[in-house]
Amino acid sequence: MAVSAPPQRDRIRKNPFHQLSKVSWPWRITLGYLTIMLFLPVAALMLKATTVGAIDFWKIATTPVALATYDVTFITAFIAALINGVFGVLIAWILVRYDFPFKRVIDAAIDLPFALPTSVAGLTLATVYSDNGWLGSLLAPLGIKVAFTRLGVGVAMLFISLPFVVRTLQPVLQEMEKEIEEAAWSLGASKWQTFWRVVLPPLLPAILTGVALGFSRAVGEYGSIVIVAANVPFKDLISSVLIIQRLEQYDYAGATVIGTVLLGISLLVLVAINLLQAWGRRYEL
C-alpha cells in the first residue's frame, strides 16, 4: 500500500484540539459518525445491561420463555444455514459449471432476498404457505402446516440466508482449475471420490463462511418471521419478537437483557466469520 497523503495543515492551528487538527477531514467524519451512530447506541445498551446487575441479568436471560425463544431462534437458524449450505453448494456449482436456459436470470434472482424488503417476504411466504396457499394447500393433506408454525420460521430463514453460500462460493469455484479434477479422474478416481477428496476441501472455508453469514442473518431476521409466524411463546416465538413484546410492556430491563444476549452472540459469529475468512485466504495464491 502506498503512503497516505500528509495530514492537512488547516487554519485551525490555534484551536485547543491541537491534536485533532492533524487529522484529515475524512477521518474526522468517519470517527465522528461512527461515534454518534455506532459506539453511542452500543454503549447505551451495554450500560443499561450493567445496571440490571449480574444476578437479575442471568435470571431474565434464562427465564423459560427466553430459553424457548433461543431454541426457536438459534436452532432453527442453524438448521436453515446448514440446509442452505448444501443447496448453496449445489446452486453455485450448476451456475459456474453448467449452461442452461435462463441461467443469467436465475443467477441475478439469487440476490432477491438481499433486495426484497423483509415484510414483503413475510407477507408472501405467509400467503403461499398458508393452508389455502399455492404450496400450503399441497402440504395440508399431508398434515404439514408451515405458516404460523416453527416450520414457517424455518422457511423464512431459508429465504433470507439463501444468497450467502452461493455468493461466497461462486468466485472460489470459478478460480478452481478443472485440471485437478481431470487429473484425479485420469488416475482412476470416480466422480464421487473426486468431489469429496479433491473438489470439496479447498471450498470448505468459503462454504463455512457462507453458512456462518447466513446463520448470523437468520438469527437477526425479524420482519419476515413476525408475519409468517404465530409468535406464540414456547412454539414459534423468536428472540427478536420477544424484545418487541418486552418493550410494549415498558419492560426496558427485560428487553435490554435479551437484546444484549442477541448482540453478544452476533458479535461472536462475526469474529468466527473473520477467522474463517483468514483461513480461506490461506488457499489463495
Binding site: 502506498a2 468517519t30 452500543v42 447505551a44 442452461f100 400467503t127 424484545i243
Partner: protein, 293 residues
Amino acid sequence: MNSNLAGKSFNPGSGDAQLSSPKKEQGWVKFALIGLAIAYLALILFIPAFNVFIQAFREGIAPFFHNLAEPGFLHAVKLTVLIALIVVPINTVFGLCAAWAIARHQFRGRAFVISLLDIPFAVSPVVAGLMIVLLYGRNGWFGPMLGAANIKIIFAMPAMVLASAFITMPFVAREVIPVLEEAGSDQEEAAKTLGASDWQIFWRVTLPNIRWGLLYGVILTNARVMGEFGAVSVVSGNITGKTQTLPLFVEEAYKQYQTQSAFSAAVLLGGLALVTLVLKEILERKTRIEDVE
C-alpha cells in the same frame, strides 16, 4: 461476481479412452443437479416472489389503483421516500470517508475497524431499534435533555432516520473499499505532485475510478432504507398516517385482513427490489467491461 466462464464442457484429450465414462455420466448427472437446484429455488424463492405480483393484480387493475389512492398509503410512500432522501446522502458521504480512511491507510487495528463496520449487518434490526430507544427514549440517556428542549425523537421522524441510517451504515464503504484498493493510489499521488488540491484529486481522479462501485453502494443503501422494517417499527410507534413507512404499512394491512391492500403496497416494494437487481446486473457488467479494457 458471476462470469461467463461457466459451462465449458469437459473435452477429454484424444486417446484417453478411460476418460469417456465421466463424460457419459455427465449428461444425466447434470440434469439431475440442475433440476434439484431449480426445484429448491422455486419452493423458497421463485414461487413466493411470483405470488406477490399475482396477488396484487388478482382482482384486476382497477382495485389495485384504488388501493394506491388511499391517504394512509400515500402518506407511507411520502415518508419512505423522505427518509431515503435524508439517509442515502448522509451514508454516502460517511461511506466515502470511511472507505478512503480504511483503503488508503495502513494502521494497527485496520481489520478491527472493518469488523466494526460490519456490526450493523450482524445485529438484529430489533436490537438496533432498542439501542436507539435506550439513547433517545423518555427514560434513555438523552431523554431528560430532549424532554426539556421539547424535541421529540422516538415515535417521530428523527428516530426513523437514525434507525435506517444505522442499519445501512456499512453498504457504501463495503462496496467502495475493494474498488479503491484495486485502483491503487498511484494516479492520486501523480495528481498531487502535479499540484492538484485534495478536492480536485477527489473529483477528477478518485471519483471516476470508483464511480460504479459507489453507485452500486448507493443503490443498495437506498433499497435497504426503503425496505427497513424491524428497526423502524421499534422506534416509530407505527402510527398510521404519521410514522408509517411502506414496509410497516404492508404488515399493518395484513394484520387488519386487508390482504389486497397489503399486496398492492408489496408490489411497489417488490418493484423496487427488481429495479435494484437489474441496476446491479448493469453495474457489474460495466465494471467487468472496464476491467477487460
